[in-house]
């Protein structure tokens, strides 16, 4: 609790701070803290990482992979992996609709939230609270995963384990990169986020979907705009994707039949051989420890002729927990 109180406006914040202080004393964890620069560019000093609120699917996944699940006091509803997390941890709701009181009320000593958490007002309150709040960067690239891993390892004081895990992820990513090199002709992939009443919401640049398509050696069929936007029917035809990619959300998922029944999608190259790939949302778009595998799986679907091999982490049979 050395962080200087910025303006100590409200009394409840002091109460929370006192509670957190008590927690630190009781846990007696990490005496010397670390200072990190988070995704918002702020210097954040973390003294105690014993009680973590983890916001964002990839953040939770990394904490579990580092074997730090006991330190997690709460997660959010996007933390779907590992599946047991949802059952065993309290929930603070949806990462984009956070309530500062809901988060701080759990008495955490550290809040780790993925970039894109919101709303802005809630983030501003959390950042001004005495509990250190670290915004974890979320760039949609292989390097981004390593960056994420390193930051989380550093603030939790698990740098050795983190380095081991990062090395595994890196060797997996390298294997996927080698796979990409063998691709002669990249295919065009159109990621459909939602398909309601004949209207498709499609991923453009600067999206997780764009990132994973690139990682799998594909080309995003839509590069003209950023983010997820409703697409023009004729533009689907003009983009002429070789594959349509969607998230698997269980029984409510989008199906190949539904997509290709649409006149515009039926006129694409993808329609000719019913090239439709559906994958688990967090696995595909999470940009966490499993992303290299997701990219490999996607590449295997896009380029069956390459016979994508198992990744190093799979051949050694080791989960991240096996890191010393």
């Amino acid at each position: 609790m050395v962080r200087v109180s910025q303006n100590g406006r409200s009394a409840w914040r002091s109460v929370l701070a006192a509670g957190a202080l008590l927690a630190v004393t009781l846990q007696g964890a990490a005496a010397e803290g670390v200072t990190v620069k988070d995704a918002s560019g702020r210097e954040v000093r973390v003294e105690d990482a014993s009680h973590i609120v983890s916001i964002g699917g990839a953040v939770t996944e990394i904490l579990y992979a580092l074997g730090l699940e006991k330190r997690i006091v709460a997660i959010d509803i996007t933390s779907l992996y590992p599946p047991r997390a949802m059952a065993e941890k309290p929930n603070v709701g949806y990462m984009r609709a956070l309530s500062p009181e809901g988060v701080l009320g759990l008495n955490p000593s550290l809040v780790l939230a993925t970039e894109g958490s919101g709303p802005k007002e809630a983030i501003a309150v959390l950042q001004s609270a005495k509990v250190p709040f670290v915004l974890v960067p979320d760039p949609y690239s292989g390097e981004g995963i390593i960056e994420k891993l390193n930051l989380i390892a550093k603030v939790t004081g698990e740098e050795a384990k983190g380095a081991c895990l990062a090395a595994r992820v890196r060797s997996d990513l390298d294997a996927v990169a080698a796979l990409r090199k063998r691709i002669d002709k990249p295919v065009k992939v159109l990621f459909v986020l939602s398909f309601v009443n004949g209207r498709a919401m499609v991923a453009g640049r600067n999206t997780a979907a764009d990132g994973i398509i690139k990682l799998a050696g594909g080309v995003n069929a839509i590069s003209e705009y950023e983010g997820y936007k409703p697409i023009n029917d004729e533009s689907v035809i003009a983009a002429n994707p070789d594959f349509v990619l969607a998230m698997n959300r269980g029984p409510e998922s989008l199906t190949a039949e539904a997509v290709f029944a649409n006149a515009a999608f039926s006129a694409t190259a993808a329609s000719a051989h019913k090239a439709f790939v559906s994958m688990d949302g967090l696995y595909l778009l999470g940009f966490g420890p499993r992303t290299a595998r997701a990219a490999r799986d996607l590449a295997a679907a896009l380029y069956p002729e390459l016979h994508a091999d198992k990744l190093p982490s799979e051949t050694t049979g080791g989960a991240a927990q096996d890191c010393p």
């Binding site: 009443n197 209207r199 004729e234 035809i237 003009a238 269980g250 409510e252 515009a264 006129a267």
Partner: protein, 363 residues
């Protein structure tokens, strides 16, 4: 008495509006404009078919190549249904606005104002957030898309509630209807807000873009589903036109002049609800068309409903078709929500009209 010798008396029926075009001229001009804008609209699109190939695609001439097949698909299965859908939705919005303004004797009345669209929006948002889960949980496989049907039903329910609130002892108070509509609209939008709060990222985007309105995803079945409502309106309009004219003088005057006022109000409300509900169900919320179209037309052809109603449908169709042509091309490959476009053009235009006209009509 000298007026009896006026040359106009020799004509079949005198136009009492000097300088205004006659009914035949107005309808003819609007029909030609509709046709021209449809043709112009058919030549542009994100899939970019050059003119000579477009002719081949349209008339099926030339070699049977894969390229021709693609062009034909773009033109006949994607572009034409969309153009037609834009025209139909525009016609519905124009008619709904004109009918509602006649009913409320107020040039600012609009289905968007009295909560009819908001009722549709609430039902649509509910379908987006709960639809999949509901269908999965119940195992029900409806033979239709859930969203448009929900939006249509939502609009109708909103209208029925309003009508019930505003009607006492068989008499419908237009003022109560308007006020209750404002309250109901606010309530429905609060409901949408709640659903937005409950929605996840994907559903949130769907709700946002749906409430901004769009005609993307147009298909022939959608066109076919709206056609009967347009036809019913066209058939019903002549029967309502004179009554709406007389209603302009007030309900008592209309009754004195032989109008069954309560029945007229019932029919007009049903027509507005059906037209708005149908338009909302297919395209989401598209504002300002219902206000601007009749307002502009009244300046040129006068407020008589016999001509104003069909002209509003034609002009609404033209306006929305042109707006949609921009909506589907300017931001391609993305869609510019057409509701944004109509509001961007419509709102300032409407304000300037108000400023210029307020002296005359005491608005």
């Amino acid at each position: 008495m000298a007026e009896l010798a006026h040359p106009a008396a020799a004509r079949s029926s005198r136009n009492w509006r000097p300088g205004a075009p006659g009914a035949t001229a107005t309808i003819t001009v609007l029909c030609i404009a509709l046709l021209l804008s449809a043709v112009a609209s058919a030549t542009v699109g994100a899939a970019g078919i050059p003119l000579e190939r477009l002719m081949a695609a349209a008339f099926g001439t030339g070699a049977d190549t894969p390229l021709l097949a693609r062009d034909q698909l773009v033109l006949w299965s994607v572009r034409l249904p969309r153009i037609l859908l834009a025209a139909i939705v525009g016609a519905l919005l124009g008619a709904a606005g004109t009918l509602m303004q006649g009913l409320f004797r107020n040039p600012l009345a609009d289905p968007g104002l009295v909560g009819v669209s908001a009722g549709g929006a609430l039902a649509a948002a509910a379908a987006i957030v709960f639809g999949d889960r509901l269908l999965h949980a119940t195992g029900w496989r409806p033979p239709f898309e859930l969203l448009p049907v929900a939006a249509f039903v939502g609009s109708l329910i909103a209208t029925v509630i309003l009508y019930r609130i505003a009607t006492r002892e068989g008499r419908t108070s237009v003022a109560t209807f308007l006020l209750a509509g404002l309250a109901l609209g606010a309530l429905a939008m609060a409901g949408v807000g709640l659903l937005v709060f409950m929605a996840d990222d994907r559903q949130l985007r769907d709700i946002t873009f749906w409430t901004l309105g769009s005609l993307t995803g147009a298909t022939w079945p959608k066109v076919a589903s709206l056609a009967p409502i347009v036809l019913a309106l066209v058939v019903a309009m002549p029967f309502m036109a004179r009554s709406l004219d007389l209603l302009v003088l007030g309900e008592a005057e209309a009754f004195h002049m032989g109008i069954a006022v309560e029945r007229l109000k019932r029919y007009a409300i049903v027509a507005v609800a059906a037209a708005t509900g149908a338009a909302v169900s297919i395209s989401g919320v598209i504002g300002f068309v219902g206000i601007i179209v009749p307002h502009l037309l009244r300046l040129v052809i006068g407020p008589g409903h016999r001509l104003l109603l069909p002209s509003s449908m034609l002009f609404g169709a033209i306006l929305l078709m042109i707006a949609d042509t921009f909506a589907r091309t300017v931001a391609a490959p993305a869609e510019l929500p057409i509701g944004i476009l109509t509001a961007l053009i419509g709102a300032p235009f409407f304000l300037s009209l108000l400023l210029r006209q307020r002296g005359v009509f005491g608005l």
